[in-house]
């Protein structure tokens, strides 16, 4: 029924994953990873796992986002590959 949405979200996730791995700027990579995590939360919702989706959202946007940015500020913003 709503498998089109799921497929779209999966494709966005894969794209986000590839971008996050390929982009030079780590800050951008981390933001892309946030998109990835948000999409995976959406996918979880669409598959009915609301608890997990909620956790993923809270963790992905909140804790991991903050940690990621903190780590980048503590180290370096750009990557060689």
């Amino acid at each position: 029924m709503h498998w089109e949405i799921e497929l779209l979200m999966m494709l966005v996730m894969i794209t986000a994953a590839l971008i996050a791995l390929h982009i030079r700027s780590l800050l951008a990579a981390v933001v892309t990873l946030n998109i990835f995590s948000f999409m995976s939360a959406g996918l979880m919702v669409s598959m009915g796992a609301i608890d997990v989706a909620f956790t993923e959202a809270v963790v992905g946007a909140g804790a991991v986002g903050i940690f990621n940015i903190l780590a980048i500020f503590c180290t370096t913003r750009s990557s060689l590959d």
Partner: protein
């Protein structure tokens, strides 16, 4: 064939995601990138479990007073959800520890690029 794809396309795409994550960990030389690959890897496994808990035409695993508990096929399988909550927590904490390690590495060597790191380690000897 179409049947197989409709039933399994999520699994197949998750396998692709798993491989992307593994690729990031193996090929990328920046430590942060490796960590990003690691998150992707873990996410794909988590989603695989979630997908396995799905049932056609079922609702979320919160008891619906109108439905009652006697029709198991009316609710999604809650077990994988519960398991994946744990897995997500584990993934987050692993991430936190790896950040601590990256920061420590940066403090010692001033870089988080693997080739440069190895070079500087060699210089040290």
């Amino acid at each position: 064939m179409m049947e197989l794809i409709r039933g399994h396309y999520v699994y197949l795409l998750l396998v692709v995601l798993f491989l992307i994550g593994l690729y990031g960990m193996m090929v990328k030389r920046n430590l942060m990138k490796k960590i990003i690959g690691m998150s992707i890897l873990q996410s794909s496994v988590i989603l695989l479990y979630i997908a396995s808990g799905f049932k056609d035409g079922a609702t979320v695993p919160v008891l619906d007073p109108a439905l009652g508990p006697d029709y198991p096929n009316a609710y999604l399988n809650p077990l994988p959800h519960c398991l994946m909550l744990t897995a997500i927590v584990v993934a987050v904490v692993t991430l936190g520890v790896s950040f601590a390690l990256i920061i420590d590495i940066y403090r010692n060597y001033g870089t988080i690029e693997e080739p440069l790191l190895l070079e500087r380690m060699k210089d040290e000897e």
